[in-house]
Symmetry: C2
Amino acid sequence: MTDDLFQMSETFEDSLSEMKGRMPSDAGLLKMADMFKILSDPTRVRILYALSLSQLCVQDISELAQVSQSAVSHQLRILRNSGLVNWKKSGKQVFYSLDSDAVRTLIEKASEHSLT
Amino acid sequence: MTDDLFQMSETFEDSLSEMKGRMPSDAGLLKMADMFKILSDPTRVRILYALSLSQLCVQDISELAQVSQSAVSHQLRILRNSGLVNWKKSGKQVFYSLDSDAVRTLIEKASEHSLT
DNA sequence: TGCACGCTTGAATGAACGCTCATATGAGGG
DNA sequence: CCCTCATATGAGCGTTCATTCAAGCGTGCA
């Protein structure tokens, strides 16, 4: 805002600094953005969607998501590190599952919102 | 799945192809991922958050979001193209606002989920 | 013990992205 | 008209990121 308008300038400047105080912290913003970044890749969304249907081993995920097994593994590492999926070894296979119903709900909400 | 286990193989293969049918379309997945991609950048989230507080001109957004005016303008173009914000010219200034309450709700939901 | 299978991991590659800097557009005031 | 202010836009640049390819590792079976 320019400073050539006194009466308005004050009002707006005040509400601006007020808003500044209401802006979320950088840490919070980063966390939020990172959350969304995880969901911003079609492959990862495919994987999560598949896992929302059932617990699956890596090969099955690979087939359902139509991505090479290696690529799936890379993405699964990201999902693992972000805490969105759990995994357990069973012999030679590793079974992945969604970590919580919260994620499932999030995906559903997302599809509701973006698929309309 | 390997083909050395007959009775299980059938069951799993069947549910796999069943799941394949339940996987969302590529177009839908892309749309969903793109939606999230927009929210995956801290600067854009800052901008959207600022706009959730009030309608704002570019300079104010720049100050609230702590980003250069040019960077803000670039990001606003993306937000404009994605239909998340509206804008109207008023003299030399351009005022931006959130397109709908849906976005506002989405941001709130996101922060709820990721800030805990 | 050796080999096949399922999965992971690291390096390399190409694409996408966000920022900056410089320039352009356009409206208003002197 | 010219100059300034508010914003937009384009090129260039460094970074991030997803995929592929090749190699590594652990498990189970012959």
